[in-house]
Amino acid sequence: MTDSSLTRLTIAQAREKLASREISALELTEAYLSAIEAANEKLNAYVAVTPDKARAMAKACDARIAAGEARALEGIPLGIKDLFATEDVHTQAASHILDGFRPRYESTVTANLWADGAVMLGKLNMDEFAMGSSNETSYYGPVVNPWRAEGDDKPLVPGGSSGGSAAAVAAWLAAGATATDTGGSIRQPAAFTATVGIKPTYGRCSRWGIVAFASSLDQAGPIARDVRDAAILLRSMASVDPKDTTSVDRPVPDYEAAIGQSVKGLRIGIPKEYRVEGMSGEIEALWQKGIEWMREAGAEIVDISLPHTRYALPAYYIVAPAEASSNLARYDGVRYGLRVPGRDIVDMYEKTRAAGFGREVKRRVMIGTYVLSAGYYDAYYLKAQKVRTLIKRDFEEAFAAGVDAILTPATPSAAFGIAEQDMDADPVKMYLNDIFTVTVNMAGLPGIAVPAGLDGRGLPLGLQLIGRPFDEETLFRTAHVIEQAAGRFEPRRWW
């Protein structure tokens, strides 16, 4: 097979060809390494490539396959978001402040992937500390979306914060990728690149060894080419981990088995509050199409109300920065990363953090510090956590009334241009990208983004399905129905 036909295989297809010895793991890995070498200068998806490690891992996979000992992901080449600690490999959360950091340990999620036979291609670009919705806050520069509008060469953002993960998967530079989602960072970039991204229930994937942003919201999940691949990856990523006290003691199901199961009789909720003011006609039409597809497949459509939806984003912009300001206190120039000398220790801290953090990170640390400071805690943080209880209650009531999953748009628009949104004048405008996704993090629920169509300029748009806690299986089942109806979307190669 040629390199480009190798990299176009889905994980499920590659798994079959590897098992039948039609292709070797080394051959597959080499095809990806060549693709990365040819494309990365233009797309900037990888911040570090690990060819020697990839080849060594692939050779070991071939030996396993030959011995008849292949594991679930044997020989599948993956990209890893720079937020995951990978032993002795670049782990910097795309921040200047973690310059040179090479952990002496491996995150639980990546350790699970390697234990299942996956091959690491390298570390993927992202918004600094996962703070952003366009991948423009990375210290390593923006990632370029492999998608372009028809007849327009203007570079577009891949979304964020897992922009490198989404771009690498869409541009055939990885068979799949790890990602994380605190307010929409898996689902929004998946929607912008016509890939599938799932944020599982809070507690499903261990957070151990993932650089912390907002600990009560952060969850790891995969970005993949299709729904089946996402199910395959999540099964390996998820686990019960004694090293993470929020890891939930529940066995990990075989998610792939849910694919192809009928949705007949499932009740799909359509929340009226997601019909936001100023929403484009294209998004509205796409949503209607999704509703039709579910109905045609035999699901029952029910109108529901989630009255506190509009308060999720403002509550998020108190809770997430507050947790971030605490989590990022550890970057002080003492134990790892960058140090800028000062006249005394406080001066050293202040100069190190001033030089090491980018503008968006500083902004959020400042907001977090302010809302937690003496005299403001009740008015901001406590209030936001109470609103969060109400947001979760809205979902609980819908599920208690018999709704099995909720269908919404994934994003309010398609991908926008690099440097197009003037973050500096109004940071809130960028934050609005997460309006449909952030509620799910606030309530700890699972959510999947699945490609559903193209807009008038030929850019991908996605739909989101939200499920009950730990019912990822229903999400794979329903997302597969949308995927079957909508078809698959691939960018035209220009890079």
């Binding site: 040179g100 090479r102 002496r104 340990y105 809070y202 507690g203 004694p242 006290t245 929020t246 003691d249 509009r310 308060y311 984003l313 403002p314 509550a315 912009y317 300001s325 002080d332 120039g333 003492v334 134990r335 790892y336 990363g337 960058l338 140090r339 000062g342 006249r343 005394d344 220790i345 406080v346 050293m348 801290y349 202040e350 100069k351 953090r353 001033a354 953090f357 500083k362 902004r363 640390v365 400042m366 907001i367 510090t369 302010y370 403001y376 008015a379 209030k383 936001a384 956590q385 109470k386 969060r388 209880t389 979760k392 500096d424 109004d426 940071p427 934050y431 606030m442 309530a443 700890g444």
Partner: protein, 95 residues
């Protein structure tokens, strides 16, 4: 609520981030934009609502209080910008 430049400087000091006059001015505008946005939470009636402490109702995991790891001083200081004999080295803090 909105913040003035003096508050921004005080918060920057609490957050241990050095800011100059120009940055403090810019941050004042940015922070006020965000604080203005979150102000709408004031509309929500939260009487008798408990604040969220955990999205998934699980009790805190506990384990036996015993040593399960350790003896890795060299690993711990391996990434330090400055270290000596497995100690982190910082500017003098006691005169």
């Amino acid at each position: 609520m909105s913040v003035d430049i003096e508050t921004v400087k005080r918060v920057a000091r609490l957050a241990r981030i050095a800011v100059d006059e120009e940055e403090a001015t810019r941050m004042t505008g940015e922070l006020n934009a965000i604080l203005g946005f979150v102000e709408q939470l004031g509309e929500v009636d939260v009487t008798d609502v408990e604040p969220m402490t955990s999205v998934i109702p699980i009790s805190m995991k506990k384990r036996q209080d015993e040593v399960t790891d350790g003896g890795k001083a060299a690993d711990i200081v391996a990434n330090a910008p400055a270290s000596e004999e497995n100690f982190f080295v910082v500017p003098k803090v006691v005169e």
